[in-house]
Symmetry: C2
């Protein structure tokens, strides 16, 4: 265990323990390749398909690690979080597998499909107003009432250790990677990637990709301290949340560079991956490939892992329609 | 080798030889599962994802076997076919890998994307009028001019032996299957499935699934002889073609039953697979799952392989939009 102030930084041992713990509850997702996408970029691309993960997102890893790491006496009181995205449904999935209660606080304005996903795995949705103050007040009530364990979507060492299992698989599936590119919102996946690669494959460069219209990580990285966006708006709706102290620690210390892509570049990259790899994935998952297309000299001639983070998209509202 | 009249019936040895021959040119495609789809059907479903195959369809297997089985003196003259679907682009793919010419005769009214796919792999498109007589006349000219080897989309033992490699992989990837369901148009995939399973796993039941609106195989199977549809129209556009003598041989001798699904059932099944398995696939590939949903008692409690045949779909014209 490593302490940095009051912040517990998850370690390689935490990742290895997470891997053993969550193995029964998550998929070892496949890695896909495309000759045509390789020719287009001049790189050798290896797409790690977490859209094919349980509950449709890598967040099943971190959520499962948090839920199955609880002592029985904690677990009976259940888990709770606030999320209008994949973390909510993935936490509900993991809690359902353990058979313990899960409460997700969500703005009443969140898409019906997101609420249905939480409930589909057996979780409870508690609605709040779409404001930070309402969310915090409602969430505090939930915890007071249930005694549930709070599992933050990303700023939680258990969650990061779980996400870190993804790149542990990737480096077993693909030899001699030169780089990995992952999308960044709050930084949970990127932090997990940093945790694993800095220990097990320290020569692999780690790039984080984000929307130009939500480029808080890019600006934080240049500034040397966390900067949050003011009401970002992007088609990559999983990437709007800011860094927190734990994820900033990993980004600052282990990420080689931050790359950004425009909305149109993200949508074009998304459609091209759907067409060529034949997979359904979220706009957020297209940002790394958009960045690779935009920065060919960084990646040409290299073996590059690309994390496809999730596949939960509204098929009735595709962004190119 | 087995002879049945003048018709050469491909054998297990042909499949094994195909498997060695095409290994460098095709993917061993993954098998995906979904707890939610299992709960919905009461069966254990194993989706064999040929939509993730090279060129986006299982037809890369048969085409590669035909192309790489040619003697050098044949191969230099190239290959030719008539197809407005996946066989044309897959033959072009295989010819491109061997570096020999490929000509595909296609109605001038065929979708631009289909023509582009053939050309994208280096093949030549020769247009004909959208009639059988024009197609035959133009195709005869092409062969006379080039001396190219004709590779039929399905009524060809080399093609069937290639398609047969798919279920050889499937039974290695999944133990103790009770049944396999594949879509049927001309019958190439189903014939290959019959070839492999009747030899290597004879207890596995084989079901063929087709659109109600193109139910020629259903009617042929009941009648005991080939019946062709008169201008069938279905969203499952890969399944409009009729059986031929070689594929009829396999269907008649080895298929347990033919099941059909309506247009709406096909589209609903397609959308549900996209949503749950996070894969892009063609309407034709949804017909088996539609049949499973429609015939729950046939499959409940069983371990069922489901062949997802291809992923080449127009993302700008999805059938639920």
């Amino acid at each position: 265990m490593t302490e940095a102030g009051t912040m517990y930084i998850p370690t390689l041992e935490d990742m290895l323990e997470a891997r053993r713990r969550i193995a029964p509850y998550v998929h070892r997702t496949p890695v896909l390749t495309s000759r045509i996408l390789n020719e287009l970029t001049g790189a050798q691309l290896f797409f790690k398909c977490e859209n094919l993960q349980k509950a449709g997102a890598f967040k099943a890893r971190g959520a499962s690690n948090a839920v199955f790491g609880l002592l029985d006496e904690q677990a009976v009181r259940g888990v709770a979080t606030h999320s209008s995205g994949n973390h909510g449904s993935c936490l509900s999935y993991a809690a359902g597998r353990r058979g313990v209660p899960c409460t997700v606080v969500m703005p009443r304005t969140a898409p019906q499909a997101k609420k249905d996903a939480v409930r589909g795995y057996g979780g409870r949705v508690v609605e709040c107003e779409p404001s930070l103050s309402s969310r915090e007040a409602v969430f505090a009530e939930v915890v007071a009432e249930t005694g549930a364990e709070f599992v933050h979507p990303y700023n939680d060492p258990r969650v990061i250790a779980g996400q870190a299992t993804c790149s542990a698989e990737l480096i077993e599936q693909v030899d001699e990677l030169d780089a990995v590119v992952a999308p960044i919102g709050g930084g949970g996946m990127v932090s997990g990637t940093c945790l694993t690669l800095s220990n097990l494959a320290p020569k692999v460069r780690i790039y984080a990709a984000e929307p130009e219209q939500a480029d808080d990580v890019y600006r934080s990285f240049k500034a040397g301290h966390i900067i949050a966006d003011d009401a970002p708006n992007t088609v990559a709706d999983g990437l709007k949340v800011p860094l927190k102290d734990l994820t900033w620690h990993f980004v600052r210390n282990h990420v080689t560079d931050i790359q950004t892509a425009s909305e149109q570049e993200i949508v074009d990259a998304m459609k091209l991956i759907w067409k060529r790899l034949k997979i359904v994935m979220e706009p957020s998952s297209a940002v790394p490939f958009a960045a690779i297309l935009k920065n060919p000299t960084t990646f040409a001639g290299r073996r590059v892992g690309v994390i496809i983070t999730g596949g939960n998209v509204d098929l009735d509202n595709l962004p190119w329609n």
